[in-house]
Amino acid sequence: MPRIAGFLSPLGVLLICAAALPGTVAAQEGPGLGVELTEEQIAAWDINVAPDGTGLPPGSGDARRGAEVFAVWCIACHTTDGEGGLNDRLVGGHGTLDSASPVRTVGSYWPYAPTIFDYIRRAMPYAQPQSLTNDDVYALTAYLLQLNGIIGADDVMDAASLPRVEMPNRDGFIVVWPPTDE
């Protein structure tokens, strides 16, 4: 039996159920070689930001600073105004999702503002990901939101304000998990 004493709940129940079903992984005992860490030791790796803003770090930035950072790191692929370029279009496309040529951008399609911060911090700039300061990531996030007309030029984005930004396509998704019987 797996080591579930005092912590049975969904895991243990699911494991027991799985063990009874043919073709699924039976509950197995491992050698217990995981090295226990503290959350503090993991902090440097933990860059997830939840849609409610959980995980957003200290720091802040506005669109003016974001425009400066964008000009250095982003325009090669996304052009000055984010409306085109070599790779993903970041701005515009509002009102096009139900057309024959939908334009999916940060402004027209992304449902959660904190996800913009999460993605820029983990994956951009393309040539040097995870190299920007948190202030500059907030500033880039603010710039993209401002270019899309979602916030104003003077609005400061930080861990408190960013989760409050209402994205235009917030209600545009139909969650189909878990599946229902048809």
């Binding site: 050698p31 995981g34 030791q41 993991i42 997830n48 939840a50 939908p102 999460d118 545009g172 878990p178």
Partner: protein
Amino acid sequence: MTRTQNPPGQPEQVAGNGILHRRLFLTGGAAMAGAAGMGLMTARPASAQLPLEVPEWMKAPGAAMSGYGTPSPHEEHVQRSFNSLPGTIGSGVSRTPHERLEGIITPNALHFERHHNGIPDIDPGRHRLVIHGLVERPLMFDLESLSRYPLVSRIQFLECSGNGRANDAAEPPQLALSEIHGLVSCSDWTGVPLSVLLDEAGVAPEARWIVAEGADAAAMTRSVPMAKALDDAIVAIYQNGERLMPGNGYPMRLFLPGYEGNMSIKWLRRIEVTAEPMMTREETSKYTDLLPDGRALQFTFQMGVKSVITSPSGGLEMQAPGLYQISGIAWSGAGRIRRVEVSADGGQSWAEAALTDPVLPISLTRFRMPWRWNGGPAVLQSRAVDETGAVQPTRAALHARLGTQFNYHHNAIQSWLVAADGTVSNVYA
């Protein structure tokens, strides 16, 4: 199934335009006698030089052994096609050349790839997997320790959810099979059940999701339901018997049987256990399926039932009319393939193909069908049914349900037009 009249002494035709009974290749006796001498995939006799000569490779010692083999230089044309986003070399796809492969196992060097910022050059001695979040004990593993855990092995396919999307274009793209459907491959995956590692960490009662992250330059991240993580997910460390290829996640990757490929996070370095999905860029702005009304389906994880004829297929050329073996692959994220039907008349009549053992759940399944090409035009199609009864849809039916902008989970029937001149092209039928 339409039965048509057979010429005397000829194998039984079971569907229109020359589809013969699948038993033709499975039984001996009269049926095979009918096929003997006609050749498979060729109606011409082998063009041997006569009189027969003893070749030079029998008159001198052969080459030495090697530490790691390579294919024959005569097979150098068997390559993945690949392309990357403008200005990048590692943000794109490479595609398995199924039109030049047989069986169900994809050679490791030909497995498809989809990368979001290149292939990281990972030192396995420095790579770590961390499990944290809603757990009793945050834990860290390395490759050496994971290799000591109980391993499981399964032959299963992996498919990019964008596979087949080229056929959403208004006009059928004239591409090779692999350029349309090459984002699926099948391997013998060996790894540690994720449930064992999660159990060691001690999952909290409120945990419903895991958030998996890769150690690539995109720090690729997807949320996965806890139910899947505890059911059949593994941390894979071997592929077809050897350590993973760098392009497929060396030294360790998540493998989620039947789910869209990008969720099987390569170069797995971190799993955060959470109560809610993280709503990452890859599960909101990408890998969501846009409907005609402007809303999008989210968390369409499982890959649908699908099949495609690999031979003959687009860009290949038929030789003279005669007896051929249609060959193809079928798969479903829901389980086993129950049946594959083949048509040579654009779907007017169908007959059941032979499934080649093994027929495994969530695996590529090879199907084969004898066909007598009469030299006239023929539209070849295959239609798979899985063990849940799900039937592969036509392109028209898929588009009627989802429109043309959904981008992902395109599992429609593929149609190949065999023209009278022997060329094979992509058509919508």
